[in-house]
């Protein structure tokens, strides 16, 4: 560009020169000379103008070039990506696999060292559960979720112990997550929205064991049955998060849910959960919830219901959000069922249970916590009407890597049977990891 400009200037000078020379030969008058000088000045002025114009143009082109370079780089990247995809689909993997669901496999294992030598489920290593989680979009507004679990089943731990692996469809549902007017719909088998802990899969639990009250009221692994759920973000003038969920679920099928099976419930059972969420300050949050589960009368049983209340407070250090956090959570359960005893008398059975825990993150990958448990037993097939247990556990959780967690827990358990009272001290070890896609989990679960 510059050399072209120089050439142009030289040519222009030459032209002026040629015009000037013959004029000189004729010995021009002062007036012609003046005329020539004026013309020359005009020419120079014009050239100056065109030079400024050229420079402006060059600057523009340079800028354009740089922008294009950016665009080119981006285009190149997308071309490379497209090529990679094309070559892959042409060969071994096949086009169909590109739409495969996100797959995560979890393995949850551990062991225990316990003072209870009679319990065959203790003092051994266990592979508690292997779980495979598939999820993908079915439609733009709906996801399909399939969770298959293979869990260790210990039958009759105090007698002829029998250990087996049980295959179970833990969850399998269509999740229509985006509906008009802030509704969402779920259909299939899913973990019921009763409280907070019940929504967690075993590998997401904040402690090694599930809280005793959740086990007693909703089942050893919580409540998950087949049904449908409708949830709604309730509009409110305060612009707060208020979510109301209503679920209609099978009262018979699914996992061993003590309150439903124990009460000999009739189909279907109805469940509802109300959740309020509020930010507290810059980095804290408080969630409050109430739950209600109702099953109709059947056989010797009258209607039975469970009420629940839960609270979760979470705080992260505003300066070091990834290094310091605090989690406090508590849940309360209360149930009532009326039934006929062997003398045809109506017996009213009220039960309650509670757990609370606090957990502090004291380093980037370290958490320590303590949990208190108390529970009655609403399922008469499991324990006697007057039985109750309490426990206190403290634990340390260490994330060696994002996908690998180690947990050490000490638990003191006090069982109050109708005819005896026994205690157990145990050290529990948990090792959990996942492979595959980054799995989703509730906001208050560490990671």
């Amino acid at each position: 560009m510059r050399s072209a400009l120089a050439l142009g200037t030289a040519l222009a000078v030459c032209c002026i020169g040629f015009e000037a020379i013959p004029a000189e030969a004729e010995e021009p008058s002062a007036a012609t000379l003046m005329e020539n000088v004026k013309r020359l000045a005009e020419r120079v002025e014009e050239m100056e103008r065109s030079r400024t114009e050229d420079q402006r143009r060059i600057r523009e082109l340079e800028e354009q070039l740089e922008t294009d370079h950016y665009a080119d780089e981006a285009d190149e990247a997308s071309v490379v990506e497209a090529e990679a995809t094309a070559s892959e689909s042409g060969t071994a993997i096949g086009q169909g696999n590109l739409l495969n669901p996100a797959i995560t496999a979890f393995l949850d294992m551990g062991g225990s060292w316990s003072s209870d030598k009679d319990n065959k489920a203790r003092n051994r290593f266990t592979l508690r559960e292997a779980e495979v989680d598939f999820r993908a979009a079915v439609t733009p507004r709906a996801d399909g979720v399939l969770v298959i679990a293979i869990g260790e089943e210990i039958e009759d731990p105090f007698d002829g112990v029998e250990i087996d692996f049980k295959f179970e469809l833990e969850e399998g549902y269509l999740d229509v997550h985006t509906l008009p007017w802030d509704f969402a719909l779920r259909a299939g088998k899913f973990r019921s929205a009763f409280g907070r802990n019940n929504l967690l899969h075993t590998h997401d639990l904040p402690q090694v064991t599930r809280p005793l009250a959740v086990q007693a009221f909703l089942g050893p692994e919580g409540l998950a049955t087949v049904g449908a759920s409708l949830s709604w973000l309730v509009p409110n003038p305060w612009d707060r998060y208020v979510e109301l969920a209503a679920q209609v679920v099978n009262a018979d099928g699914g996992s061993e849910s003590p309150i439903l099976i124990g009460a000999g419930a009739r189909n279907p059972a109805v469940l509802s959960h109300l959740k309020l969420f509020q930010d507290v300050g810059d980095t804290g949050s408080l969630e409050l919830g109430t739950s209600f589960l109702y099953s109709r009368a059947s056989g010797d049983f009258d209607d039975s219901y469970v009420l629940g209340a839960d609270a979760t407070y979470m705080w992260r250090d505003p300066q070091k959000p990834d290094f310091r956090s605090l989690l406090l959570q508590g849940e309360f359960f209360w149930s009532r069922s009326d039934f006929l005893d062997q003398f045809e008398d109506i017996i009213r059975d009220d039960n309650w249970g509670v757990y609370v825990f606090g957990q502090y993150q004291f380093a980037q990958n370290w958490y320590a916590g303590i949990r208190y448990d108390y529970t009655d037993f609403p399922n008469l097939e499991v324990r006697h009407q007057t039985d109750s247990d309490w426990a206190i556990s403290s634990y340390v959780t260490w994330y060696l890597f994002e996908a690998l967690r180690l947990r050490l827990e000490y638990q003191h358990l006090d069982r109050d049977h109708v005819d005896r009272n026994d205690t157990e001290d145990a050290i529990l070890l948990g090792l959990t990891f996942y492979i595959g896609a980054h799995p989703p989990h509730p906001y208050w679960v560490n990671r």
Binding site: E63, T67, Y70, A71, E73, A74, E76, A77, V80, A84, E88, P140, R141, D143, D175, H177, T178, L179, D182, F183, A184, L233, D239, R240, Y241, E243, K275, F277, Q278, D279, D282, T283, S285, E287, M314, R316, P318, Q319, K320, P321, D322, F323, Q364, N365, F401, E402, A403, I435, H438, P440, Y443, W444, R447
Partner: protein, 322 residues
Amino acid sequence: MNESRPCRRMLAIAVVAALMPSFALADVRVVTTNPTLADLTRQIGGDQVRVESLMRGPENPHNVIPKPSFVMKLRKADLFVHLGLDAEPWVPNLLRSARQARLLSGGSGNIDTSTGIALLEVPSQGELTRALGDIHVYGNTHYVLDPLNGIVIGRTIARALTRVEPEHASLFDERARELERSLRALTEKLTQAMEPLAGGRVVTYHRTWPYFLKRFKLQKLDEVEPKPGIAPGPRHIAQLAEEMERSGVGLVIVETFSNQRTAQRVADLSKGRTVLLAQEVNAVPGVETYQELFRYNTEALLAAHRELNGTSTNPPAAETTR
């Protein structure tokens, strides 16, 4: 009976009048994942937008907790501006909870700012395994740290805002050009200012800085994290410090979400020093705009460099071989 009519009319007028301002201020409501995108949106949208960031500045974009209160912010948003790729793994789940079809991936209000960005550190297919740590499958996601990428992001945002408010198209377009001019001038000025450091090498804590380093002609010797997202052990720290001393590298760049103490240990062992840089707008006090981020970061690096080399202005020795 009739007397109440004027009263009602007055009430109706009052109600309409009360509602008027909210119609007049028909802003575009934008929610961004981080404060950097929020500032860029503000620069393009001006008075025509209301912007809110979900994340706070010092946070690690990969580890944000998607609280239910985020859902409330998203519900009213016309646009949701995010980094795209796999930079923010918490986003897809959050969008599912928000129940707004326009904000879902592929929806008209879902704005992915990685569009048109030339990514660095794109892993080859064979490399994709967690054995490499927390790697990003599409390439390094910290592309906002090249000021010239801000131009591309600005254009993406301007296009998105134009879709929502076509009547202000020329305004958004002009502001995108203004942003471009401002960023080009800034980049030129800062590149010149960074001349004493050009070609020199640094250590970074996390793999946050390749775009920044490339733009300002710095090279990376190594990272404090042995692999992305994996905390270094004592042996790695010792080896790194030794490597730094051997190569005459003294600067350890650390971001607000990384372990400052570990970085300090590396600096102490290698007789170097740490430099806390803003990886995000609002990550450190005083960095409130995209432009300020680069001013702050280059000044911090220059200051650290001066301090490390006493008063001498010699560039750090850039070895040709590692």
